[in-house]
């Protein structure tokens, strides 16, 4: 049994490395001249997509071996779900790649998937047994379909961000360049979060606090990052660890806020370093990579991904979700935050489609919308699970 679990994590690790390699291969493919809209793939590009597919197969291997080891589909906690979401982005990329053959898409999609998988591994990764509410076939039907939909919609974001990187004038500082940098800063912060969390995990940093929780009861909480902010009326129990600079009121989860503060601080430093060393905006750094792709094509890829992803998302995140909620929670809809945010995502992409169709929001506006849509998806994945407590907070 646990051998299988071991094989499983090795496969995930292999997939992670293969995605990295594929990113570089796609990078190489971009550098070769003469790749425009409609032209075939060069050798680097073919290698890149092959390695991506092998990586995807490895990750599928991870998924099914872990399924076998656990006895249930590995989509039941934040680690498993987020990893799966990363895999779906790669899967969706492969699908779209075979329609449009654009290598530059891989150059952006794979790093995003890599960051997401790395982010996933910051959560407890042991195989957990299923609580009664999750013991249903609808668990994997609902979650896999929803994640597949989100993965396809993520490709729309990726095409959108490439469009923006390519088309926003970097020679002047405008509102647009600032917003685009904000997106870049966010991605850099996630990377910073991963680096900081892994660093302190390697150093085995643990600081135990006793505090008074929301219900006015004494409780304990273990911090795995030095506490910049501490819990309500907290006292540090572990000796020799950092004392918090400030205590938070009871309704704020100090541990999570602390993690956010660390990530932002890390993000500022990392982003600042990049800007200092290169003396360029991050988007300006990326701009040369995307010169060779047609804006029209990017726009169509972005739109097409929404068209393909929207039905899948609706089916998985709303319809299957409602069927399961009716069985497990006695009602198909209960305005639980996670449900509401799935509805918001649905409404947002509905608005996107209507804006394109009737108001002719193509090109840049459409690309911004794709970015916002992905923001909503990530918000639902991360913030709603971690910040807003609800029935879905299993992690």
């Amino acid at each position: 049994m646990s051998d299988l679990a071991g094989v499983s994590s090795t496969l995930l690790y292999a997939a992670f490395l293969l995605y990295l390699v594929a990113t570089f291969l796609f990078g190489g493919s971009i550098r070769q001249k003469g790749l425009r809209d409609g032209e075939g793939l060069n050798r680097w590009g073919r290698l890149g997509i092959t390695v991506t597919i092998v990586g995807f197969a490895a990750q599928l291997g991870y998924f099914f071996t872990r399924w076998a080891a656990a006895g249930h589909a590995p989509v039941s906690n934040l680690f498993e779900f987020t990893t799966f979401f990363g895999m779906m982005i790669v899967g969706a990329f492969i699908l779209i790649f075979f329609i449009y053959k654009t290598v530059v898409l891989g150059l952006f999609a794979l790093p995003i998937a890599i960051i997401i998988i790395a982010y996933a591994s910051m959560f407890p990764s042991e195989i957990s047994p299923l609580i009664p509410a999750l013991q249903s076939d609808w668990l994997h039907i609902h979650v896999t379909t929803a994640a597949a939909g989100q993965g396809i919609l993520a490709i729309s974001f990726i095409a959108g961000i490439i469009y923006l990187v390519k088309n926003i004038d970097q020679s002047v500082s405008t509102k647009k360049t600032k917003w685009l940098e904000a997106v870049m800063f966010f991605i850099v912060s996630v990377v910073a979060f991963i680096l900081i969390t892994s660093g302190f995990a390697l150093a085995d940093y643990k600081a135990e606090f006793e505090y008074v929780n929301k219900e006015d009861v004494a409780a304990q909480q273990e911090f795995t990052l030095p506490a910049l902010v501490g819990p309500n009326e907290g006292t540090l129990l572990t000796e020799g660890k950092m004392e918090p600079l400030a205590d938070m009121p009871a309704f704020i989860n100090a541990k999570k806020l602390n993690t956010v503060l660390w990530s932002l601080a890390g993000g500022v430093i990392l982003y600042g370093l990049i800007r200092l060393v290169t003396r360029k905006r991050v988007a300006a750094l990326l701009q040369p990579l995307v010169q060779n792709v047609s804006s029209d094509l990017l726009d169509e890829i972005s739109y097409r991904s929404v068209l393909i992803g929207f039905p899948v998302f609706t089916l998985g995140a709303l319809i299957f979700a409602m069927i399961w909620a009716q069985i497990a929670w006695t009602r198909f809809w209960g305005w639980d935050p996670k449900e509401v945010w799935a509805l918001i995502t649905f409404l947002f992409y509905a608005a996107f489609l209507h804006l394109r169709l009737s108001k002719g929001w193509h090109g840049e506006r459409s690309a911004w919308l794709a970015v916002i849509g992905f923001g909503i998806i990530m918000f639902n994945l991360v913030a709603v699970n971690l910040v807003i407590a609800g029935l879905h907070s299993y992690a």
Binding site: S2, P132, S358
Partner: protein, 538 residues
């Protein structure tokens, strides 16, 4: 209503922009435009034609997609506000909302409560937004689908060259169409599943027209869904009851008008155990402590045969026996019974022994059922215990010295016993609690020694009937068919026409132009027929 007759002889409805049949521009504006707006084929939409009466204005307002988008955006923004703090139905039920929000979230919580966001999804304005969405869906769809249908049905094969010239994909060249080439084009188009119509030497290849109906189909699905949601408030469509049932109890199933009874044959709570459950779970169990594995009520469902007879005692016949678990409700008729919650170890009965304080000798034991007490318990040979008072939720003595009970629930049971023995025929009074006895009327020879406590679990079952579900399911299915129809296929057309020594080629698709371009390229490649160019490329 006026009609517009086109030069080609076709009679179009009032308001038509492009002739349904030949495609000639009928309005001055359309004649000026370089590219025609093909979204609705230039058909006559009511909203674009009339703007006089109030009805016209309301119609035009709701048929506007701009308004529709505003409604969608307002809905999504409003919905997000409701997730900032927990909604009223998720806060602990023993705390009044008036104070809860302020107590826990401070001033922000107070404001949140005051503006009604604690119950946002049931507010009138939120419902009004949903209603506006429904109205908009109906009107916007009707405004477009009928004229669009007419236009696509009436379209001629040989469109007027001005129509073709104003298409986004267009080419014109001097020359004549060669028979052999046309044959090749035809086979290529057929391979790509185009339907081909030819008239007067012109060709129209068309495929996937059905995808144009996708949006309307999905809107119909949405409307049915919203209608189903509305039906919930019709009496009899929807029942939602909670039943707390103790182990061993048989109770009427609420919502069934007494036709059904349910018996709880036992509640089970299981946790995952290291050693018993798969080893791979050990690490997780270690980290979080206990993980629940199963909540289960073993239930028997009965039907009351005498339900229809007024005044008759119930006559129960067993209908079905089932283990109700989370994710496995028990179903009967249109009802489903769910495992919702539980309370463990509620006190059921207490065991006492009548004991001589000095010798410790026991003269028999009694069992007091906390839900069904006897007035006296005869132990034989002149020993007897009378129950003078029962205080299920004892919380002290009143000023006059009477014991008081906070509630009828046996949370902290206390008893006033009168012990009668051959030595004490008048009885001695003892006040007994779980681990404590008192002698309020002076020193006794005997006492009621507490022996043990019987407990049982209480299970909470949700009884639910929802007759709107089939309608919602129908709406959902139609919606899915509609979106897939509209999203996974595109309506593509290719016109080829020869007129006065010129070849005209035009192409149109409702979306995904790259695909159409590639397709036309592979069809016309290697022929003398010019490949249409995209005139909207940036």
């Amino acid at each position: 209503m006026g009609k517009v007759k086109c030069e080609c002889g076709h009679v179009n409805p009032n308001g038509t922009i492009l002739c349904e049949s030949c495609g000639r521009a009928l309005t001055e504006k359309a004649k000026q435009e370089k590219l025609v707006d093909m979204r609705y084929e230039g058909s006559a939409r009511r909203s674009q034609t009339y703007n006089k009466t109030i009805i016209d204005k309301v119609w035009n307002f709701f048929s506007s997609v701009k308004v529709g988008i505003w409604i969608i955006v307002l809905l999504l923004v409003a919905a997000s506000f409701g997730t900032i703090l927990p909604q009223e139905f998720y806060i602990p039920s023993n705390m009044p909302a008036e104070t809860y929000y302020e107590d826990v979230y401070g001033v922000f919580g107070k404001i949140y409560y005051m503006i009604g966001f604690h119950d946002l999804y049931n507010s009138i304005w939120f419902s009004a937004l949903i209603a506006a969405l429904g109205v908009s869906l109906v009107i916007a769809s009707l405004d477009r689908v009928i004229p669009l249908y007419r236009a696509l049905k009436n379209q001629r094969v040989d469109r007027h060259e001005t129509f073709m010239k104003k298409q986004r994909l267009f080419a014109e060249q001097e020359g004549v169409l060669q028979r052999g080439e046309m044959e090749k084009v035809r086979t290529e188009l057929m391979k790509k599943r185009y339907k081909i119509r030819e008239e007067n030497g012109s060709l129209l290849a068309e495929k996937n027209r059905f995808s144009r109906w996708g949006p309307y189909v999905n809107h119909v699905g949405l409307i049915i869904f919203l209608f189903g949601a509305l039906l919930r408030s019709v009496p009899g469509m929807y029942i939602d009851e909670l039943l707390w049932i103790r182990e061993g109890e048989t109770l009427q199933v609420p919502g069934t008008d007494g036709a059904y009874y349910v018996k709880n044959n036992g509640f089970t709570l299981e946790n995952y155990e290291e050693g018993e459950d798969p080893e791979v779970f050990d690490e997780a169990i270690d980290r979080v402590g206990t993980v629940a594995k199963n909540y289960q009520t073993d239930a028997v469902l009965y039907r009351d045969a005498n339900n229809e007879l007024p005044g008759a005692d119930p006559e129960l016949t067993e209908v079905q026996t089932e283990s109700i678990q989370v994710n496995q409700p028990m179903k009967f008729d249109s009802f489903a019974v769910y495992q919702t919650s539980f309370r463990q170890d509620e006190m059921k009965a207490m065991h006492f022994a009548l004991t001589n304080k000095e010798t410790g000798e026991e003269f028999g034991g009694i069992v007091v059922d906390l839900f069904d007490q006897q007035e006296s318990y005869d132990l034989g040979s002149g020993y007897k215990v009378e129950l003078r008072g029962y205080y299920p939720d004892f919380d002290g003595f009143s000023e006059s010295g009477e014991p008081t009970s906070k509630s009828p629930l046996p949370n902290n049971p206390a008893f006033l016993f009168n012990m009668i023995t051959p030595e004490t025929p008048d009885g001695e009074v003892s006040f007994a609690q779980i681990r404590n006895t008192m002698e309020p009327l002076g020193e006794n020879e005997y006492k009621m020694a507490f022996k043990n406590l019987e407990t049982r679990d209480v299970s909470a079952l949700t009884i639910r009937k929802d007759l709107t579900l089939p309608i919602l399911a129908l709406g959902g299915i139609i919606f899915m068919i509609g979106v897939i129809q509209g999203a996974y296929w595109n309506h593509r057309r290719l016109w080829i026409r020869e007129k006065e020594g010129h070849i005209y080629v035009a192409g149109h698709t409702n979306k995904n132009w790259h695909g159409l371009k590639r397709e036309i390229h592979s069809v016309l490649n290697g022929t003398a027929i010019p490949e249409p160019e995209d005139r909207q490329k940036d």
